[in-house]
């Protein structure tokens, strides 16, 4: 890592954090679109076709590198900013702060950390299988990992499904604060648009995680 990266100004770091966060939010919608194919009663044909497209299309492969860079920088910047924030107050108050702040806005690093744990589990279960780093007994007729069967097996476990649902609820809280915070950081704050941004952020933070949560519930109810 270039040492100058650490010496970006506080605002530069935050602007990158906001850009990358919004970029990841767009990606999440694409991911949800693919995941919702699991709900079709076609033996996973649509989902497998979508997974095949995502795994073989060259444009997607280039985009994948951008996406990974986005994830890594978003996480790294989050950690750097948090460490700097902890260092800025070496002596804590005796009485914890009683100032009114938006719900969970003080805990973004913790909700982000929980999402990161999920991301690692998710990679172990899917992406690392695609890369061949984790062994897998389920293959399609074309010799590719059968992600439909892998997903079906995972969601058959109530423990995994409950963990999955919990993590998407946490992600929802993270996104609800993140969306409006990103626009504020990018300088978009105007009485005319603020309520729109707030409402859209809340709408997104409810609808997108809910879309993911429906899938394990569907598998649990239909198994």
């Amino acid at each position: 890592m270039n040492p100058s990266f650490l010496h970006f100004s506080s605002i530069t770091k935050k602007i990158w954090m906001a850009f990358l966060g919004l970029f990841l939010m767009i990606f999440l919608v694409v991911h949800l679109g693919i995941n919702l194919c699991l709900l079709r009663n076609d033996g996973g044909a649509w989902f497998t076709a979508a997974a095949h497209f995502m795994g073989t299309n060259y444009i997607v492969k280039v985009f994948e590198i951008v996406l990974f860079a986005g994830f890594i920088f978003h996480i790294l910047l989050g950690i750097i900013l948090q460490v700097q924030n902890w260092m800025a107050r070496p002596v804590r108050y005796l009485v914890s702060n009683k100032t009114y702040t938006p719900f969970l806005s003080k805990y973004m690093i913790y909700t982000g950390g929980i999402v990161l744990i999920f991301l690692i589990i998710h990679f172990m279960n899917f992406y690392f299988i695609k890369l061949g780093w984790v062994s897998n007994p389920n293959f399609t007729s074309e010799g590719e990992p059968n992600f439909f069967v892998i997903a079906q097996d995972l969601f058959a476990s109530p423990a995994y499904s409950i963990l999955y649902i919990f993590l998407f609820i946490v992600l929802g809280f993270h996104l609800n604060q993140a969306f409006q915070a990103a626009w504020q950081t990018l300088g978009v704050n105007h009485p005319q648009y603020n309520s729109c941004i707030g409402w859209f952020g809340t709408f997104y933070a409810i609808v997108v995680p809910l879309g993911f949560i429906i899938i394990p519930i569907y598998f649990l109810l239909t198994r």
Binding site: I11, N85, A88, S105
Partner: protein, 246 residues
């Protein structure tokens, strides 16, 4: 009113501090918070003890000197007031009140409840001004300024630099203060000439002094005695982006 006070006592910047408990009786609910501390100090002096050191000056809420973190809130439990405007009627008889100094790395404790806020002066020295040639004052109406922007600039200029934003922020971020000082000039024609240089230099100094980063909890806005808006932080970010990109 009968009160128990737990106050941070620290001999000097290098000494370790500790909380000391004091009891006070017969405090009028109409007395201001600083007057209550004055009464305590008179009693301490009569007992040949060291009085509690705390910052204060105008006692009218305009100088920004008072800097007390009272029961988990900068300037105490009232909204949009400084500690000097806080009255004892905001507390109940028998309450325990914990009084701490502002806590932030760039605001070291000098003694007891007094902190060194010269970090704010260093930020201002980097660009919190406009350069005007000396000579006869020009006709004021020669430079036109829109009413809306003039009012926003005045709102930003209401910042008294007390540091409550830093004290309230979980990250000890000074962005509300810096953004107010940038906005008051960025909104007016007189501030345009040095605008790019101003935002870059003031943000650089803010970072060098060790203030934390804003994580958009808006505790600063909630505790500001002068109701400085978070929209100033967005404006500072816009100014910063423009200064860096254009």
């Amino acid at each position: 009113m009968k009160l128990t006070l737990r106050i941070w006592r620290q001999r000097d910047a290098k000494s370790a501090g500790k909380f000391v408990t004091y009891s006070l009786d017969n405090i009028s609910p109409n007395c201001s918070f600083l007057e209550m501390l004055d009464i305590l100090n008179e009693q301490l002096i009569q007992k040949n003890e060291e009085p509690v050191v705390f910052d204060h000056d105008c006692r009218e809420g305009i100088c920004g000197m008072c800097s007390l973190y009272i029961n988990g809130r900068p300037h105490g439990p009232d909204d949009a007031v400084t500690a000097c405007q806080l009255h004892m009627r905001k507390f109940k008889d028998g309450d325990t009140i914990v009084i701490e100094p502002w806590r932030a790395r760039p605001f070291p404790v000098i003694r007891d409840l007094m902190v060194d806020r010269s970090a704010f002066d260093k930020i201002i020295q980097e660009g919190g001004y406009i350069s005007v040639n000396t000579g006869g004052a020009a006709e004021a109406n020669n430079i036109l300024a829109g009413k809306e922007n003039s009012e926003l600039a005045m709102d930003a200029a209401a910042c008294i630099g007390c540091g409550a934003c830093v004290a309230a922020c979980k990250n000890a971020s000074a962005m509300l203060f810096v953004s107010a000082k940038i906005s008051q000039f960025a909104l007016l024609p007189q501030g345009q000439i040095e605008a790019k240089q101003r935002v870059k230099k003031m943000v650089k100094m803010m970072d060098e002094l060790g203030f934390g980063n804003c994580t958009n909890t808006y505790a600063c806005e909630a505790e500001c005695p002068k109701l400085i808006s978070r929209s100033n932080i967005a404006r500072m970010n816009r100014e910063f982006i423009c200064a860096k990109v254009i």
